[in-house]
Symmetry: C2
Subunit: 671 residues, 2 copies
Amino acid sequence: MTDSKLNIDRVALEQLLNKRFFYAPSFGIYENVAGLFDFGPTGNALQQNLISLWRQHFVIEEDMLEVDCSIMTPSQVLKTSGHVDKFTDWMCKDTKTGEIFRADHLVEGVLESRIEGDVLARKMADMSVSDGNDKTVATDAASSSKGSNAKKNKKKGGPIVATKLDDSVVEEYRNILAQIDNFDGHGLAGLITKYDIRNPDTGNEVTHPVEFNLMFESNIGPTGHIKGYLRPETAQGQFVNFARLLDFNNQKMPFASAMIGRSFRNEISPRSGLLRVREFTMAEIEHYVDPLRKQHPRFSEAADIKVPLLPGSVQLEGKSQPIVMTIGEAVEKKIIDNQTLGYFLGRIYTYLIIIGIKPELLRFRQHLQNEMAHYACDCWDAEIKTSYGWIECVGCADRSAYDLTVHSNFTGEKLCVRENLSEPRVYEKLVCEPNSRVFGPKLKKAAKPVQEHLASLSADELTSVKNALAKDGKAVVKLSGTTADGEYEITPDMVSIENKTITEHVREYIPNVIEPSFGIGRILYSLIEHSFNVRADDEQRAVLSFKPVVAPFKCLVLPLSGHPSFEKPLLDVARRLRSNGVPARIDDAASASIGRRYARNDELGTPFAITVDFQTADDNTVTLRERDTTKQIRGSVEEIVTLVKDLVSGNTTWDDVLASHQLVNTAAASS
Amino acid sequence: MTDSKLNIDRVALEQLLNKRFFYAPSFGIYENVAGLFDFGPTGNALQQNLISLWRQHFVIEEDMLEVDCSIMTPSQVLKTSGHVDKFTDWMCKDTKTGEIFRADHLVEGVLESRIEGDVLARKMADMSVSDGNDKTVATDAASSSKGSNAKKNKKKGGPIVATKLDDSVVEEYRNILAQIDNFDGHGLAGLITKYDIRNPDTGNEVTHPVEFNLMFESNIGPTGHIKGYLRPETAQGQFVNFARLLDFNNQKMPFASAMIGRSFRNEISPRSGLLRVREFTMAEIEHYVDPLRKQHPRFSEAADIKVPLLPGSVQLEGKSQPIVMTIGEAVEKKIIDNQTLGYFLGRIYTYLIIIGIKPELLRFRQHLQNEMAHYACDCWDAEIKTSYGWIECVGCADRSAYDLTVHSNFTGEKLCVRENLSEPRVYEKLVCEPNSRVFGPKLKKAAKPVQEHLASLSADELTSVKNALAKDGKAVVKLSGTTADGEYEITPDMVSIENKTITEHVREYIPNVIEPSFGIGRILYSLIEHSFNVRADDEQRAVLSFKPVVAPFKCLVLPLSGHPSFEKPLLDVARRLRSNGVPARIDDAASASIGRRYARNDELGTPFAITVDFQTADDNTVTLRERDTTKQIRGSVEEIVTLVKDLVSGNTTWDDVLASHQLVNTAAASS
């Protein structure tokens, strides 16, 4: 269990994130609603930096067509996409109090509590500790140490009761937990009955799970008749614009659209901080590709990237150790379905490493057949290891032609590509042609629907009609779902059904879509966990070691003390940094020692600090401190500002700076 | 009328914006819903650039605390802020068909049609044209020339009927139209009755106007019991976080928070393209300031900026010609209420000029007393002149302490600043102190509420109590809205009411808020109108002359023709630009001449174009063309890429480039 979770002091980290306003529950001074979070100045800047890098890495470098579509979506669009019917979770209710649970979370919580109770019982037996009472309620030490949030974070599976279970039962529970995501409503109902799962707080039985749609609903306009949903993903806005985008791209294929924006999911039970929320920022790419040519023109650039893969076949063997191999090898061995999918896995990997995700805490897990949507032909998740376990942060699916097909079918608008063939395609085809002198007059208003029906028949079906006409002298056509439903008799004089030679100069196809989809909040939280350290010499001093390129604030500017002579040079340095586009924070709180001010900015993850001291007045020099090494150098204001700009933009590194500058000898107090 | 509107060919512009996918109605392949727009690659990039510049100009240079709060807002927050009760428009219905109108738009449309009918009638009389028929229905030439949108854009006031009106009636109508925004429901009802305003399409009467709340409503969570609204502005999320933000700022005042994000207004009748929509991106600053010290530390930087002002006093004189003066002078003369408000007007002006708004098409209009919220003490709109008239694009209001006060009162959370006074404040105050031996035992459970009531009395009220006790030997306290409502008798033994000397070391105050609020979509649309030109030598060739810093795509890369040898250098140039962060588009459509490709990228507003030609293979040089001058120079790939990077970042200008390079002699066809 533990080796699938990152071992960090999450309580300390959460306190830091709250204190330094990375994020906090929205509308916290009101009775706040679960699953909504506000990003403070620190979290917001971090998020913006992740988005900027994403835009540079994907949109600009790959020349994607970035769009910005409406969040409010008329219901029919999401009916067509399948979300109105299928975007649901299973919920059940306490039969007496009416309290609502997400069914899989309830089963999970109760079974986990039982396993923990078993572990506790075995431990107590081992220690030969017995107070003559077989069952003991454990004190909820872990949650009470969380401070003020403890009361709100109810233990989801109820109090842990020390009750020994049979080994086989424990094994059974663990098996269920490992595949809890795969149970549908029926399966969950079975588990609830079989294992007598109840509301842990009341002991009451719960109802059979029913489906709950996860979309927020609203009405558009004053009549109340136009139903809308808040989009649950950015993808549909991109799909419905496909024809415009293809046109913008001068009809050239393949190409990609992209969108960064807010999406909404009305989760039954939000939990795990930023990991399961009701409103979140996502970044999605829809790469449109010819289904017959899934090669990628830049594949060679990704082919040599080594990535840790956990293919379906390995998971089915019950293993969780990823295989490290190059993208090129994985595509060649058909572990990854095609070059385009492989190329994007490589690009996703590079992006995550650039922002500071630790490579050893990152893996690509392939979806098993039963996890995938029926239309998907391959899907991989970039999973990042956190203290909550392996978290899906980026999905990368080949969605085939599903989305464009359903929108095109419903609206009647062509969402397809027409390709001029250099060699025309010539083939034989059985074709039904009406004899207009007889066909129309006989069928009257039904003529057009009958003709369309005949044109839509397969070769086999059309052969049956032809045979019937030859044998019986007639054939019956049955229409349904048209404006002229009913049965119509066709006679041989009305149609000719013959093989014809067809010559096509244009190939028309609906592109397949490869969709890398990024949960920005999840990536942000995982990155914070990976960046969280304590000073080697003082466990109380936490540091967020963000890379300069993602750090929320790039440079701290501070005076050695509250001496009034420091104010002018301080403002001058800050102004110069800001007008160079370097976000700089001043920390001149005279009440705090310089050591304490360094420490609190270490908690913001600020990589550099410029200090104005008494020497500044003499020679206009300042010191520059780097967060992780705590080493300092000295230089003129001009030089140091330029240096910081170069450090932040990646034009130079701190190692280079150290190699070319003399260290300042700092007293312990100011390090 | 016409001189208040920018004279451009809006039909041509709209066709260009649609063709080049700046934006388009959302979900256009479905039956689309009014007031929702998708930004295509061009519009999105333009919007992103406006946002980046905004962030640099305000957030970074002014060290504002940018946050990112939830869109979904629990209803109580917006009940407290006043939006649930007051954020409404007036709507009325056709009494027979039920068709819904925004009441002010209906009145406006009908009166405008009548005035146009009058103009037409007078014109016909002048021309002595008469077909013996007094009333003539004009052909709707203007709207049919709009092409495919004509059917959807119904003439809002009905067909124009040539009917002469009395001069005094025309005058009356014009007066109403000039102040249509100032009528409430009662006033609009009066107009509808007095002028017999009907549904122009059916001739039916309309109902009295009723209030319609403009917020989109939804339910949060699975119970359906938690009502939420989509935020109508970003401000409230900032206000409720005030205490956290002050803390983050180390308790230092003044400071500002800022947010860029989506907001929603369920408009009754969206219209005028991006100008009145249901979902939009806004950027808001909340600057928190001591009500006693509204000076601004950087005021001197804004004091010399000359701005066109239209103060309330000038408007009341019926004038519309702005006064041009410096911010410093306007604040000194109290035309602008205070330094901080003035400083922000200056910064807003600078921002709008930087992005390319034409200074002669920009003015600051002060709200009249009856336009302002009751709590606001001064408010100015930055209005930009467009073909729709003067459009409010930025509001800048002094909201006093209203918002923080109401949220604080409702939640009981202190949203205030505690300032340590250097000199303690000493004053006399009448104070009521309970005698604890008698007070508690006599009043029992009511003791605390009665004591709180007494403490809340004003000096005059407390004096009355003191007098009653002295005269009658008793006083009656009446509680309401407490846990112990009722009347309670107080006797002299229970309290002592005496003057005391109070010494305060801390001053506690609720800050005032200065709020610059930017409608990004409106600014974007206005900027497009200001950038729209046609080539002097060819009116059919439209150009969007965006400054390089806001242009959606910075550089076009194209081959002289479809010759295969151009492909490699083409990709090389594009790759180099993109990895330098310069968004570059390739246009290698072999079917289009180079002139046509230049032209279509002029329509995207792309300022620079690099062309690969036959000479490139020989000496690795390319040409660089600038959009507005259409002049070209030649240089090595490396030099030109660096030059473009510098041009885009503002490190150099095209004039500088022309001064130091020889012009390429271009054939007419390729200009």
